[in-house]
């Protein structure tokens, strides 16, 4: 049994949300606010918050604190590839930041045995004015490689990135694809004992993502330990033998990758087919639109988790428009159990399409026809963009999910076939057959099971 290289015990991180933590006030405001509270305290003999100031003193209530991570404990052995999954805001990035020493835990501890390199973003530190060559040295050193190491691997890096021709041009002239490839190439040639990767693969085109995955598999084969955070479930199941799932800052599952991923989908949080955000502060929101609820409903409008394959299913989005004067483009994306993106659909309601929306509450439903989807669990992402200018307001991944069930009564696309039917969709097609009665030389009958293509 290989030794434990990472041990996390009772790890917790508390943040203060809202303006206090993120937006630094001014020193002057801070001093004034403190003076004010001092005077008030003297004047009235009790403490009062100074209203409206971003830097109101400590006693302004505890509701602005929250635990990004609470009491997380697990161990990782040498050579393991551990996947970390969870919804947005579950605490995955916080965990990674603490593992890579960027931020300090509030409680608990981490023990690490070996050199750690964290890849939380590609191209960190890249400077547009410097050439590709110079940026390789810059980025490499920033990521922790020694100069000599970078020189040694220089040619490999350039070859991996496929930018030989442009290696001496300033990076600001690179296309986004080249930039990404170069950035990843440097990072890919790190040789840490423990590698931490955060959703880096979410950017770039399919070819790039494939290359990244391939490289990561290579790293895993070399026996290094990897922490991999991603929303890309097929990548997670492909790379990781073990997966931990975070939810609301807590570790909710730890086990074999297929099981955890499946459980994550068929979630533990009660009904997966309906999600609401009653607190407008926590709701996914942009400047123009805010998501309040997403529901899966059957043809009668009832929220349901299980859908008959023959019946239509509606994905209902309830959202608020906050500012007038914008056209919106609500969209729904469907994924199957294996993480394959089945389709994206943009709103086509003729009553609203291309029209500027007045502020208020909207409920848009996308109806997926019956006899179209395949059996299995479907996961739904929802999002809204404004149209001109095109700005994403929110994009909620795996907002809801539902199961498509075929009760095999004979009138669905599988007909009388009871076996495993592959395919990402299962449309009920119209078949037409013509028959001519003629005498034909009969062939010997085939025995054994028919193979279907």
């Amino acid at each position: 049994m290989s030794e434990i290289v990472v041990r996390v015990e009772g790890l917790s991180k508390q943040y203060r949300i809202g303006a206090r933590q993120k937006d630094p006030g001014t020193l002057r405001d801070h001093i004034v606010a403190n003076l004010k509270s001092l005077l008030r305290r003297n004047g009235h003999g009790r403490l009062r918050e100074s209203a409206g100031s971003e830097n109101s003193p400590e006693h302004a209530g505890t509701s602005d604190k929250f635990w990004a991570l609470k009491d997380v404990s697990f161990e990782v052995r040498q050579g393991e590839t551990l996947g970390v999954i969870g919804r947005n805001g579950a605490g995955k990035s916080t965990l990674l930041k603490m593992l890579s020493r960027i931020t300090q835990p509030t409680r608990g501890r981490i023990e690490i045995d070996g050199r750690v390199s964290a890849l939380l973003e590609v191209g960190t530190g890249f400077h547009g004015e410097l050439t590709g060559r110079e940026n390789i040295y810059l980025n490499g050193t920033i990521l922790g490689m020694k100069r000599a190491e970078v020189t040694r691997k220089f040619d490999e890096i350039v070859a991996f990135a496929e930018v030989e021709q442009f290696i001496d041009t300033p990076v600001k002239h690179y296309s986004s694809g080249m930039y990404l490839r170069l950035a990843f190439a440097v990072a890919a040639h790190l040789e840490p004992e423990i590698l931490i990767v955060d959703e880096v693969l979410a950017v770039g085109d399919a070819a790039f993502q494939k290359k990244c995955l391939g490289k990561m598999e290579g790293v895993a084969k070399e026996g290094r330990t990897i922490f991999f955070v991603s929303h890309n479930m097929p990548a997670v199941t492909r790379l990781c033998g073990r997966v931990i799932c975070l939810d609301g800052g807590k570790l909710c599952r730890d086990g074999a990758s297929h099981e955890v991923v499946k459980a994550y989908f068929h979630s533990e949080l009660g009904t997966m087919s309906s999600r609401e955000w009653p607190d407008s502060l926590r709701a996914p929101s942009g400047e123009v639109a805010r998501l309040r609820a997403v529901r899966v409903c059957d043809e009668n409008g009832q929220s349901t988790e299980k859908i008959d394959i023959r019946r239509k299913v509606g994905i209902e989005m309830e959202y608020e428009v906050l500012k007038p004067g914008y056209k919106l483009m609500p969209a729904v994306c469907l994924y199957n159990e294996e993480g394959v993106r089945l389709f994206d659909s943009l709103e086509h309601d003729p009553a609203w399409r291309g029209r500027v929306r007045t502020p208020g509450r909207y409920r848009s439903t996308a109806w997926i026809p019956g006899n179209f989807l395949a059996e299995g669990t479907m996961f739904v992402n929802v999002g809204i963009d404004t149209v001109e200018p095109e700005i994403a307001q929110f994009y909620e991944r795996q907002a809801v999910a539902f199961m498509v069930i075929d009760s095999c009564e004979g009138d669905s696309a599988r007909g009388d076939f009871a076996g495993l039917l592959p395919g990402v969709v299962r449309p009920l097609l119209h078949w037409s057959t013509a028959f001519t009665p003629e005498s034909i030389q009969t062939e010997p009958m085939m025995s054994g099971p028919q193979t279907r293509c």
Binding site: I102, T103, Q104, T106, I110, E111, I112, E121, T124, L138
Partner: protein
Amino acid sequence: MGQAVKSPAGSSVKWLLSGQNPAESSMKPPRQKLIIENRSGLFDMDWSGLWEYRELLFILVWRDIKVRYKQTAIGVTWVLLQPLITMLLFTAIFGYMAKVPSDGVWYPVFVLSALLPWTYFAQAIARSGESVVVNGRLVGKIYFPRLLLPLAMIVTPLVDFVLSMILLFGLLMYAGIPLTWKVSTLPAFILLAMLTALGLSLFTSALNVKYRDVGHAIPFVVQVWMFASPIVYPVSLVPEQWRWLYGLNPMAGVIEGFRWALLGRAAPDPVVMAESVVVLLIVLIAGIVYFRQMERQFADIL
């Protein structure tokens, strides 16, 4: 057992030898364990971390210098032009019009010998004051001892300084002032300026992360400070009874030293020098402590 060394992110890094039996340890080198937890020690200073990341320091300095000179077409000329013009301006206003005494030294040389270290100091303060904020993305995504950021910004203006010294040496030759062995003490005085700038910017860069108006106040403070330093006038102009107060300004000591080393005049006032060094050390140490305390929050704020 290994020593306890504190790591820069405010957490304690204990370097331990993992418990292996002697037979095994002859085969593999002992592995070092890293422990990350919440520590709030006042005096943790991770010297080994700074040494380990020394290459990053060089790279940061190199990056800054390269970018600076790539972007400007005039580049080097501007480095020489700026102090030259300022010197001419000051000579005209303070030397001729106001007739400020200059310890018997030709005024242009008198003022330039102070302007150069001052310009270095002002640039160092300005750049390192915003160094953490400007590199915010880096701080949020990569681990490295954050102290390297203000430290790097203290080093980069040295390039400009060295270049502009050419101007000064040229002027000295023109004025017929010979160079003596005292010139070799110049690096010591520049070191004083560097440490002063470092000490101060440890405060300002850390404060600036949380309170952005600190960054805006810096240029003003530097302006005022310039007149509190003996650039356009000599220390001898300051009344005797106030000289002790005046000496609390570390740059006073630096400039006195420069003038002594280059112009071959009277030795610098020892009271002023001593005070400068003491103040400088206090500010530096306090700055390091403060920065290390605040460092823990950087990634959370930026």
